[in-house]
């Protein structure tokens, strides 16, 4: 009789242990919506970062490449190459600076409100960049055209057609990339708002 009583008490203790095991297992878990959304934001942010690294690499590579093409091959002025190089350095620097907002946001563990603020800041910086970037590119193209005409007006005319086509293609690609980045920033901001919104 006593043994039976002890057996049942052990059985209830086992049930308690099993419940504790369950609790311990659950304590290690995160609420999934947060985790999934953070993971998705991380993916989007790494897409933006990858694009920024490509922009930085291209801008920096343009410095020696433009020297070889503009100065050595086409015989354009050194001042033009220096201006081109400075423009590329500013591009790379600005991209690097804005990328810090994305890289420094630890999507998996940082406070969502803070991440949201950083993303909004990066989005604004990215949008404002156009106010400098577009006039700078137009001025650079005008200078390039003028430099080419200085070299040889006849041949320069045909080259300008090529430059014009390149500029249009470049502008299409540039705007596409810009709007994609803006859209991705907005996506992260919306996800954060959705996650922090009340039911």
């Amino acid at each position: 009789m006593m043994n039976e009583f002890e057996n049942h008490e052990t059985q209830f203790e086992n049930m308690r242990d099993q419940l504790n095991t369950l609790k311990k297992k659950l304590d290690k878990q995160e609420i999934v919506n947060d985790r999934v959304i953070r993971h998705s934001m991380k993916q989007t942010a790494s897409n933006i970062t990858r694009r920024y690294y490509i922009i930085m690499a291209v801008a920096l590579l343009m410095i020696p490449y433009s020297y070889a093409v503009f100065v050595m091959s086409l015989g354009l002025s050194l001042a033009f190459w220096i201006a081109t190089s400075l423009f590329m350095l500013v591009c790379a620097g600005a991209t690097y600076y804005n990328n810090l907002n994305v890289v420094n946001s630890n999507m998996m563990s940082s406070n969502l409100v803070e991440i949201g603020k950083k993303m909004a800041r990066a989005k604004k910086f990215d949008a404002n960049w156009l106010f400098f970037g577009i006039p700078a590119v137009i001025a650079w193209l005008a200078w390039l055209t003028w430099e080419i005409y200085q070299q040889d007006a006849e041949a320069g005319r045909y080259m300008v057609y090529g430059i014009g086509c390149g500029a249009i293609l470049g502008a299409i690609c540039g705007f596409k990339m810009h709007f994609k980045t803006q859209h991705q920033y907005q996506e992260i901001i919306d996800q954060i708002e959705d996650l922090t919104a009340e039911e």
Binding site: H8, Q11, F12, M15, R16, D17, Q18, L19, T21, L22, K23, K24, K25, L26, D27, Q29, E30, I31, V32, N33, R35, L112, V113, T196, E198, E199
Partner: protein
């Protein structure tokens, strides 16, 4: 997120295991746990602002979670989307811990929903008074019901 939302998120994070445990004990599959978990969180949020801290927050959470799990119409449980849940499947995982948890689940599932609530709280080491407060009966009644439930559990193990 405003202060109330922050406070709610923090409370949920602290008590997520308790809430999920209750939902698990009242479910038959992973989808059902997720649906219940979602429903309990919605009900907790609805009552969070008016919760006046007269009782312990854990007691209140148990009460809302158990009421939701006991009273929710099974047919109405299916929601179109599951927004919040836990990344765990206690019905399919095969490790030793889950096997132990499954044994507990099987045993408790055989009880009536109200008895299931009482035994769950008893296993959590809550006093008869606390259990009574949560399920809405007297401590004396809890003691009587627990005696019967324990008998039932003993018989289960003898079967």
């Amino acid at each position: 997120m405003n202060a109330l939302e922050n406070q709610f998120a923090q409370t949920i994070a602290e008590h997520k295991s308790t809430i999920y445990t209750v939902c698990y004990m009242f479910s038959q599959d992973a989808d059902e746990v997720n649906d219940l978990f979602q429903e309990v969180l919605v009900n907790l949020w609805k009552g969070f602002e008016s919760f006046e801290h007269r009782s312990d927050i854990r007691t209140w959470i148990y009460r809302v979670a158990l009421n939701t799990c006991i009273s929710l119409d099974r047919k109405k449980r299916r929601s179109s989307t599951v927004r919040l849940t836990m990344d765990i499947n206690l019905f399919e995982d095969r490790d030793e811990d889950t096997r132990q948890v499954d044994m507990l689940h099987k045993r408790i599932s055989k009880l009536q929903p109200f008895d299931r609530a009482i035994v769950l709280l008893w296993l959590e080491n809550l006093s008869y008074e606390e259990i009574g407060q949560i399920v809405g009966i007297t401590a004396k009644n809890v003691s009587v019901r627990l005696f019967r439930i324990r008998e039932q559990l003993k018989n289960m193990s003898n079967d």
